[in-house]
Symmetry: C2
Subunit: 200 residues, 2 copies
């Protein structure tokens, strides 16, 4: 039985289905959307994908992906070099940056400790973080790993490795999310919100 | 505030978020997956997208997308030219073809009548279907539009337009899906399964 779809369509469906969150049906929908779209629209997207790696570097200081070395945040002399915020990945960094609530610098771990996935401390950029702290300019390390088992394990590891260093090590507060209705909040979060309660 | 992500990443996230079923969060996940993948993997996908339209033609007979004109199905002399299966789109054709249960030819409407979306009979390839039937080689038109309001409206329109032609017009059976548990089947399907009941 011959394939009833053109070769280029079948090839694209196969390639798309390899991506995370994209199943075979979504891959088909996307391929036909692009086929019905103009050729130039497909070319624009295709070039954005194909040239993604061109010119992207990893910043030697914070290890974030960047257009140049050092990245714009590390190169910004206005930012507080004594405050170092440690995140799991660049999207966490972007979320904190977009909150507008932080004017220090960052360190990107590129993952979190996860024995199940075979990711240990040595697979992250913890050694580089220790080197940065050892250079002496950092006064506080804010560990902003995710509020997950992996994020907690990573935070504990960083806390242990920094013990004895003349640096304050903190973690993001746990509690109710803004707009959260207590009725629908999970028990672990309520317990942490109670434990971390503050004077009115 | 400077964009904390490299320009190429931001551009790709914007392009991906324009696709159907892909929200901003999925676009971010996909972009970072491709950034962590090898450059050649991103290039392979990018080229498959960019070159999608190259060399794809619309078959002059069945209106399916194809590598050549006529398509392999229309060019196949072994297939029964007297049986014509009318489908909404190429993925429906592929599903019927992959079922292995049909050895005739196809006609692709490229959509279904939908007043809500502003799609009328003239936006489909119904005129071309009538021309094919008028040429006289077709003995039966099997309308295989979806079992939806739009598919039903399209089937009715085709039935009316073919009235008086020396051709049998049929529709796919409605009833229980194979493996279906009657307990969980919707009322409309059960009613249609009863109505279409057959001798054991």
């Amino acid at each position: 039985m011959a394939d009833p779809l053109p070769r280029a369509v079948t090839r694209l469906i196969d390639e798309l289905a390899r991506l995370p969150t994209i199943g075979p049906k979504t891959a088909q929908r996307l391929a036909f959307f692009l086929l019905r779209a103009s050729s130039s629209q497909a070319q624009t997207l295709g070039r954005a994908v194909a040239s993604l790696h061109d010119g992207i570097v990893t910043c030697g200081q914070c290890r974030n992906y960047a257009d140049a070395e050092p990245c714009t945040i590390c190169a910004d002399g206005e930012r507080n070099a004594a405050l170092l915020c440690v995140v799991e990945d660049p999207l966490d960094l972007a979320a904190i940056e977009n909150s507008g609530g932080f004017a220090g610098r960052y360190h990107v771990l590129h993952g979190a400790i996860s024995p199940l996935e075979g990711i240990g401390p040595d697979d992250l950029t913890i050694d580089l973080l220790l080197e940065r702290v050892a250079r002496g300019a950092v006064g506080e390390v804010i560990v902003a790993t995710n509020a997950t088992i992996e994020g907690d394990a990573t935070a504990m590891e960083i806390g242990q490795r920094l013990r004895g260093q003349p640096v304050r090590v903190t973690r993001l507060a746990r509690g109710l999310a803004t707009g959260g209705d207590i009725e629908y909040v999970d028990a672990a979060t309520i317990a942490q919100a109670l434990e971390g309660r503050r004077e009115l």
